[in-house]
Each structure stands twice: as structure tokens, then as C-alpha cells.
Amino acid sequence: MIEINHVNKWYGPNFQALKDCTTSVAKGEVVVVCGPSGSGKSTLIKCVNALEPIQDGEIILDGIKVNDPKTDLPKLRARVGMVFQHFELFPHLKIIENLCLAQEKVLGRSHDEAMTKGTKLLDRVGLKDHARKHPAELSGGQQQRVAIARALAMDPIAMLFDEPTSALDPEMISEVLDVMVDLAREGMTMMVVTHEMGFANKVADRVIFMDRGEIVEDALKTDFFGKPRSDRAQKFLSKILSH
């Protein structure tokens, strides 16, 4: 589904954000990407739907080369859902309008069709009663659930999560993770950048550990938590699991 082959990326001439990254996500697979801040994990996930350009290597999404100048990027991006750290709901639109906008303007669905789909998804994330509110009236956890529903409204073939819970207050993290766990169990293909090792333990198939722009470890979940091979991954795990 997602193939990342020997990807290199630089910010300016001197800072290399990604160094020869190679990995893949199969259909229905859940892959968690973790690592210390500044390790390039968010950059990597943003390269998958070309929100960030890459300078070298290739990324292939459902058979289409993302970094080919001839690729119709809006069309490709419409097929992959993305959830951001800071939700990025559109504050001037009501919740239901947030869910309908791209359905109507990108997929060409009728307003009624989009509303039905939107309402159904809001119900699914437990926020049907908030459809007529504006994003600022909702809590962070609720906003992030709306953001997930907004992405799902496009019937994506895969979902990308960029630190979906790191901007949330602790008591709101689980309501978002619950939605994500359900999604994973239904067989959604997911690539998730997160520090939530409990989530990784519960639903991930594989865990990727990154440090300084490199993929240091790419292992099955049981192997990763059981016996990480690299020193850096061991140190990272011992730090975040010690509490």
C-alpha cells in the first residue's frame, strides 16, 4: 500500500531530515512510528502524501509514485486521510461543514449525500449532537475526533496520523485512542506517529523507531518491545516506559 524506498530529504543545504529511509506498510497493516523529537518521524509521514517534498528516492502509494511531477497530487491526497497534531479543523466552518467541504468540492458528492455521510461519521465518533457548533466550542479531544471523522468521510484507503494525541490534555487522550483502536481493528491501513506505546502494544503490527533522520529499527511489535536490537531504541524505550 505504502512503499518508501531510499528516501533522502534536506531542509536547506546543510540539514538532512531523512537519511536513506526504506520501509513499507501493507494493506490492513498498522505501523507505529516513534522516536525522540527531531528524529524525522513527522517529516517522514508528511512525505507520504507529499505535504513535504523529497529530494531523493521514491514513495509509492497504492501503485502511484508520489514524487513524480506528473502525479495529480490533490487526487492522490484525497484518497489518504491525514490527522494532524493540532487538529486543523477549519474554525470558520461548523463541524458538519468541516466534514462536508471536501466531500462536495473534491469528490463531487451532492450536499445531501455529504450530510448523510458526515452525520453518520459524527455519530460514530460520538459527536452527532455537536454538528452545528463551531470547532472552538469543542474540547481538544472532541476536535481531534472530528478531524478523524473528517478524514474518514473521504473513504480513504489508508490513514496517516501525525502525533494525534500529543497536543491533548491527558484526560482526553484515551477518547481519541479508542477511536483509533476501533479503526485499526476494522482493518484500516494506518501509519501512526505517536509516543503512545500502549496504543502500539495493543494494535500495531510493526513498530518503526527513528533517530536523527534514520530508520534505526523496523520490527514486528513483539520483537520491538521484547528485544530491541539497537542501543538507541533500548534507551528510548526505557525512558518512556519507566513511568
Binding site: 490533490p74 491526497r77 484525497a78 484518497r79 486521510g81 471536501a102 473534491v106
Partner: protein
């Protein structure tokens, strides 16, 4: 010293002052603000575009317009447009452009320079995550601007845009150089005709002051309301 002033001249000319003069002034202000906003937004988008050349052209335009006194632009434009039109259409004589059309085009072009700076600040005030989220949903650049970025930029900048429109309302009085009967022009005509300069100019000042003052007050209230919503 006020004993020989005749304020009845104002009452006698009210119809001409407001039905003709003020109507013209408000029409010019409204159309110029609307046109300036549309044209200005386009310039702002050019300045922020990733094509350097477009940005350079837009920047030069803004600097050029802001470096000239408005009254000179109005004056020159009125005399130049017929010849530019002749050159563009290839006709044998300078084309006829009415004083209203000429002043409207001038104000739109001039105000666009100022509105573009306001809209540029407005667009830059929107976090990068918003267009990123729009892109991630599959919206094109144009759709992302139209449905996500510009509505927010416009809303954030509305008080500043309206304040600039109040300045524009006062600036429209400069069309007197083309002898157009806007509000000030109408007052001036009556003043010259009846020899009542002091009365008419005092009254004109009072009217501009009252309208601008009330408009500013309205903008401040609007600003407070927007601040609460956000």
C-alpha cells in the same frame, strides 16, 4: 462675526447635496472598496506566490502606487486613460472615458495597493496547518484559498479593511480636481454660486466628520464581537 452668516443656504441645497453629491460619494466609495478588495486580494496572492517573478511584479506595483500622491494619480489617470484606450483599441481618436469611470478605475487601482497589504497580512496570519489540512483532504491550491484561507483572512482583517474604507470615503473628495459633483464638489458649487463659502465648507466638514465617526465606532464594536467569537 457670525451675524452675517446665512445657514439657510444649507437647507435650501439639501436635495442637491445629498441626493446627487452624497449618492455619488457613497457609490464611488462602495464600488472602489469592492473592486480594491478583489484586485488587492489578487495582488496579495501574487506577492505570496512561489513564483518569484509574480511576487516581484506585485511588489513593484504596490510600492509604485504607495509612492504617489493620490490626487496626482487621479489627475494623470483622467488625462492618460483616453490615450491608453486609443493605443489598446487602435482607434484613430482618444476614446471617451467619463469622469466617473475614470475616477472609479483610479480608486480601485490605488486602493488595491493598500488592500493588498492588509490581505497579505491576513493570509500570513493563518497558520500553515490550515492549507496543509486542506491539501491533505485533496483540495487544490485554488480551492484551499477560496474555501479555507481567504474566508479566515478576510474575517480576521475585516476591522482593518473597514477602517481603510473610511479613509477611502474621505479620499473620494479628491475627485474635485476633475470637477465631479461628489458631496464636497456639490457643496463647493453651492458655496461659489451663493457666495456662502464658510457655511458650506463648515457643513461639509461636519457631515464627513459625523459619518466617519459613526463608522469608526461601528468598526470598534464589530472588532469587539469578532474578538469574542475567536
Amino acid at each position: 462675526m457670525f451675524s452675517n452668516l446665512d445657514f439657510d443656504v444649507i437647507r435650501r441645497s439639501l436635495g442637491f447635496l445629498f441626493l446627487d453629491g452624497m449618492t455619488f460619494t457613497l457609490t464611488l466609495t462602495g464600488l472602489a472598496a469592492l473592486g480594491g478588495l478583489i484586485f488587492g486580494t489578487m495582488i496579495a496572492l501574487m506577492r505570496l506566490s512561489s513564483y518569484r517573478l509574480l511576487g516581484r511584479i506585485a511588489g513593484l506595483y504596490v510600492d509604485f502606487m504607495r509612492s504617489l500622491p493620490l490626487v496626482l494619480v487621479i489627475f494623470w489617470f483622467y488625462f492618460l486613460v483616453p490615450y491608453i484606450g486609443q493605443w489598446l483599441t487602435g482607434s484613430s481618436r482618444p476614446i471617451r472615458v467619463g469622469a466617473f469611470a475614470s475616477s472609479l478605475i483610479t480608486f480601485i487601482m490605488f486602493e488595491a495597493a493598500y488592500f493588498s497589504e492588509i490581505m497579505r497580512a491576513g493570509i500570513q496570519s493563518i497558520s500553515k496547518g490550515q492549507p496543509a489540512a486542506a491539501s491533505a483532504l485533496g483540495l487544490t491550491y485554488a480551492q484551499s484559498m477560496r474555501y479555507v484561507v481567504l474566508p479566515q483572512a478576510f474575517r480576521n482583517m475585516l476591522p482593518v479593511l473597514l477602517t481603510q474604507t473610511i479613509v477611502l470615503f474621505q479620499d473620494t473628495s479628491l475627485v474635485y480636481v476633475l470637477s465631479i459633483p461628489d458631496f464636497l464638489g456639490a457643496a463647493s458649487t453651492v458655496a461659489q454660486r451663493d457666495g456662502r463659502l464658510v457655511e458650506m465648507y463648515l457643513f461639509a466638514a461636519l457631515v464627513y466628520f459625523t459619518i466617519s465617526c459613526f463608522a469608526s465606532f461601528g468598526v470598534r464594536r464589530l472588532q469587539a464581537r469578532i474578538a469574542i467569537v475567536r
